[in-house]
Structures are given as structure tokens and as C-alpha cells.
Amino acid sequence: MTPVLEVRNLSTHFMTRRGVLKAVDDVSFTVGQREIVGLVGESGSGKSITGFSILGLVDPPGRVVNGQILFNGDDLLKMSPTAMRTIRGKRIAMIFQDPMMTLNPVLSVGTQMIETVQAHDRVSRAEARARSRDALGLVGIPSPEERLDSYPHQFSGGMRQRVAIAIALLHRPDLIIADEPTTALDVTIQSQILFEIKRLAAEFGMALIWISHDLGVVAALADRIMVMYAGRIVEAGQVDGVLSEPRHPYTSGLLSAVPAAVPRGEPLRPIPGFAPSPLSRPSGCAFRDRCARATDICATEPMLEIAAGREFRCFHPHLWSAA
């Protein structure tokens, strides 16, 4: 089965006055059909820029400087802006963290959804409205017909996020990129959204890239997980494997920093230090200054190792006895 998305050696750099900021640096991964991939990392690790790069949404001074993004076999980076517009929103959709920023506050939700339908399909307004209504119903918004005439501010945060998901679903895309869509939501509402997303992805056979800093959310949702640090994917593999037997010290560091990892009341085990500034990343392994396992060899670039469906970039990976 051919993958929906294949990213090869993607590098997105920002040419700032203070130098070249390598937000995404030689990133490669694939997303299979119907696969849910979690992309995790701390703020500034480049996970959102990876998502933006796929959709061609990187603005100057940022630029995709290298790589290929193959979507169903076609390289998105070689496409004309016109051709890209037929894909963006139709074949690949995106859901952002804050729907209040992405929904137009002066247009009713119905108007915005009808626009989205008609941007790609030549259908009558009435039919576009009917499709919008159905999409709202799908994501669990009560009385969708009336809600089409509501404005974004008349929805609660969770409901707005459902509207954003409904818009993303309008054209039944092959791939949805969701950038921290539940981060701003309460636990019970987040759980409702995760439930709906999982159901809808399975129902329509969509692939999903779920960008999040919350390992717990990704653990519950995704099939595969990719961990980003300082612009690179440092570890990737099946969720169960990566979270129970992490190979990269950064992954294990993240896992043991959560409060649940130590008995109640005992000191937590944070990763020492801070993430390096993206303008002045150390050569070699960017994590080596914070890593307890680092040695001199870490000053050189660690190669990507692939073993048993697991990829990681580390000279001193954790070893787990083969079961």
C-alpha cells in the first residue's frame, strides 16, 4: 500500500537578521493510509513548521530549502500555487490550535463553510449548505441547521473546535494535519473531541498527523509517534514501543519528567537545562548538552538507525533486552 504522504529530507529555514534559523532540519517520514501519526516535541522543536511546510504555508523569511513532500506520489514542493490550491483544503486539511483565530468573526459559520465547499466543488449554494449542515451534525453539534447561522463567538471553545473539524472534513480529505487542536480545551471536552476524531478518521479512512506536546493524548490516539527535538525527528516508531521502551535519551527524559513517573511527593526528574536556541544549535547531536549518556562522539552527527520498525538518531541508545 502506497503511503499517503512521504516527506524526504525536508528542511525549512528562516532567514533572520541574526542568522539562519533551522526550524526543520532534514526531516523524513511517511504517513500510511488510514494511519494516525503523533508528532510530539516541546515548544520550538519545529513540529508546527513541519505541518505548515507540508501545506505550503511557510511565509517569508521562512523557506523550504530542501527536500521532497510526496503526496500520493506527487511532489507538493514542485507544484504551482494554482495546483497547490486544489489540494489544500480539499485533499489535505488543517486544524489549528485556536479556532477563534482561524474562523472569521464577522461571517456566520454557514457562510464560511459554504465558501469552503464552493472553493473546490461547483455545486449550488443550497447543496453546499446541506453538506455543511451534515458536516456539523457529524462532529456532534446539536441542531446543525440553526447553528449554521450562528457566528463563531456564539460557540463555546469546544464547539468552535468542532466547527473547525467540520470544515476540515467538508471535502473528505485524505490527510488532516491537526496542530495542537485540544491544547486549549478542558479535559472533559478534550476527551469528547478525541473520541469524535478517532471515530471520524476510521469512518472516512483518513490519515491524520496529530501535532501535540502532550504525550498522554498521543498515547491514547495515535498508531505511530515521532519525537522531534531541535528541528529533527530523534525517534519514531509504534506508539506502544516508543513509550514503553524508548531508545533515545530525549524520549525517555520526556517520559520520566511527567508527575506520574515518580511516586507522589517525591522530586520530579526534569531533563536538565534548556532546549538550545534554534539560532545556535550545537553541532552533532543537539541534545548532547542535556544528555547523561553523552560522550565525545556525540559532537559528530548521529546517523539515523533503523531497527525493527524503530528509527532513532543516537550513538548511545537505551538497550532493552529482546523479549
Binding site: 472533559t188 506536546h213 506508539v239 519528567a257 511527593g265
Partner: protein
């Protein structure tokens, strides 16, 4: 038992918007418009003892931040009162009032919006202790340097501005500023919510170290049950302005009584428990403008029955240090009573 440090007694806080001129005119013609009132905190009793870490959890709009502000003495109550070491805050005067205000400090979620961007670290932290006579003018620099070092910031940063720091460092500045006036109580309002997980762990460790070192008391407000479970001695769960349950963390997680608490704990995403099925509770958090009658949770509660729709449940004891406000408590009590009666027959 020791005397409470701070306690809220039937404390309520309402926010209402007065009718504007046009609405008043509309009312003259019989529009019948009323003032909109939000019951942010609705008759809450909460006691915090010296040296305790009390966690206050709940979803957005449940009134946890308002309650925190009331208990820190920076917002008055509408009804009821807050007592500081046994004395009503409203009755405190002069020096006593000033001392209380210094003794209760707040640390907020977003340090960028609570640190003046035009001031240097030295002034941000040093101004309050200087004004209140805690240190002399020429000793301020040494005093601030010792504080910043204590919270894990290099003393060479004293002349920098807030924008030159990362989020975690800014939060450390906020903590040092609160510590500078030698407080007894720290009210932390979502203080680690905006931080990445490894930075969050560093700050939580700092909070726990400071508690031991300075004998601090914390009211720790958070929506993150995992964090609260880890550092608190007691957890208080709020829903729409009311306390629905309170217990020690172990008791609360092992034996939650209120259906809302049960839902919160069940839906907590966890790395260790890779459960693939979500069983969300239905519905939205109702608007605090029009809270449902009876138990506020009944429209979303899977176990609601007729009584929940009319009568407000009161907090009842479920065990040592464990209270909850749910009519199911009475139900199970009568059921067990009936059961014992049957066996007696």
C-alpha cells in the same frame, strides 16, 4: 489541631453587568431586561492550614481562579467572608491589613503579562521589599541576587528585561518576586500550565523545595489533575462555582465519589495507561450566567435522578478527610441501611 491560616466561610462572589442607558430606556417601555449576574463562586467553604498544599481543580469557568483571588485577599467577597488567621479580612485595618497582604502572594499563569516589560529584574523583584522596609535601599541588590539564585537564576541577569528570558525563567522571576516579601501563603494560579513538560517538572520541584525551606503554604490552582495529584496534600474539585468534592489525592483517585470527579479522572490522558477508548461525558459546561437548578452537574451526569434537578446537594462526609456533594451519597446510605435491616429480619 492547628488554627487555619486562611479560610473561606460561605464565600460567594458575583459579577454583574449593570444595564446600560439604552437598556434602561427599553425597560421603561416594558422590555423587562435584567442585570446579568455570574455566580463565579457560590457559597464555598474552604480551609487551608499552615504548611498545607491544597490543590484546587476544575475546568475553565468553574470559579477556581476567583476563589484563589478571594483567598489571597486581592478581591472582596460578595457574601460570606474570608478569615486570615481567624480574623475577617474585611475587618483588618492598617498595619495588620498590610501585613496580611504581604503574607499572601500570587503567582500567575503567564509571567509575560504580569511582569512589567519596561523594568529590569532587579526592580521587578526589589521594589516591593524596598517599599515595605524589608531591606534597606543599598542592600536591595544583594537581597535580590540571593533570591534569584535561590530560584535558579544566575545573579548576572539582574539588569535584564523580561523579554530576554524564556518562559520557564520568567516564571522563576515571578516566583522570586512573590518570595521577596516573605509570604506565608502562595496562591499559584495555573503557574505551570504554559510550560513544557521538562520545564514544568523543574518549576514543580522548585515549589516543593521552597515549601520545605520557607515553611510555605500553597493554594495550587490547576486544571491538570496529574500535577495536583503529585504535589498536593488535599485536592478540592470545583464545578460551576461550587465545591463538589474534597479529599487527599490518593483517596480522591482511588475512590472518587462525585460523578464529575470520576469523569475527570477517567478522561485524564496518561502515558502509562494507553487506553484506546474514550468514554466522554456528554454535554458542555453550562454557562455560569444560567446555571442549572439543583445540582449544577445534573444535565451531564449519567446517574442523575429527580432530586438532582431540584435540590442542591450539600457536602457530606464520605470518610476521613473526604467530603462530596452528591445526592447519591444519601442513596447509598439508605440502601445499605435497608440491606442491614433486611439481614436483621
Amino acid at each position: 489541631m492547628t488554627n487555619p491560616l486562611v479560610e473561606a466561610v460561605d464565600a460567594s462572589r458575583r459579577f454583574s453587568r449593570k444595564l446600560d442607558y439604552a437598556e434602561k430606556i427599553a425597560n421603561l417601555f416594558g422590555a423587562g431586561l435584567e442585570e446579568k449576574t455570574v455566580h463565579a463562586v457560590d457559597g464555598v467553604n474552604l480551609t487551608v492550614y499552615p504548611g498545607e498544599v491544597v490543590g484546587l481543580v476544575g475546568e475553565s469557568g468553574c470559579g477556581k481562579s476567583t476563589l484563589g483571588r478571594i483567598m489571597a485577599g486581592i478581591m472582596p467577597t460578595s457574601d460570606g467572608e474570608v478569615r486570615w488567621q481567624g480574623k475577617s479580612l474585611a475587618a483588618l485595618q492598617g498595619d495588620e491589613k498590610r501585613a496580611m497582604r504581604l503574607s499572601a502572594q500570587m503567582i500567575f499563569q503567564d509571567p509575560m503579562s504580569t511582569l512589567n516589560p519596561r523594568k529590569r529584574v532587579i526592580d521587578l523583584i526589589g521594589e516591593a521589599p524596598k517599599v515595605h522596609g524589608i531591606v534597606k535601599g543599598r542592600e536591595v541588590r544583594d537581597y535580590v541576587a540571593s533570591l534569584t539564585e535561590r530560584v535558579g537564576l544566575d545573579a548576572s541577569y539582574l539588569d535584564r528585561y523580561p523579554h530576554q528570558f524564556s518562559g520557564g525563567q520568567r516564571q522563576r522571576i515571578g516566583i522570586a518576586r512573590a518570595l521577596a516579601v516573605k509570604p506565608k501563603l502562595l496562591v499559584c494560579d495555573e503557574s505551570v500550565a504554559a510550560l513544557d513538560v521538562s520545564i514544568q517538572a523543574q518549576i514543580l520541584n522548585l515549589f516543593m523545595d521552597l515549601k520545605r525551606e520557607f515553611g510555605l503554604t500553597y493554594l495550587f490552582i490547576s486544571h491538570d489533575l496529574g500535577v495536583v495529584k503529585h504535589i498536593c496534600d488535599r485536592v478540592v474539585v470545583m464545578y460551576l462555582g461550587r465545591v463538589v468534592e474534597s479529599a487527599t489525592p490518593d483517596e480522591l483517585f482511588d475512590n472518587p465519589k462525585h460523578p464529575y470527579t470520576q469523569a475527570l479522572i477517567r478522561e485524564l490522558p496518561s502515558v502509562t495507561d494507553r487506553r484506546r477508548v474514550f468514554t466522554p461525558i456528554k454535554g458542555e459546561i453550562p454557562s455560569p450566567l444560567h446555571p442549572p437548578p439543583g445540582c449544577h452537574f445534573h444535565p451531564r451526569c449519567p446517574k442523575a435522578f429527580d432530586r438532582c434537578r431540584v435540590e442542591r446537594p450539600v457536602l457530606k462526609k464520605n470518610g476521613p478527610g473526604h467530603i462530596s456533594a452528591c445526592h447519591l451519597n444519601d442513596l447509598s446510605a439508605t440502601e445499605t441501611k435497608n440491606a442491614t435491616a433486611e439481614t436483621a429480619i
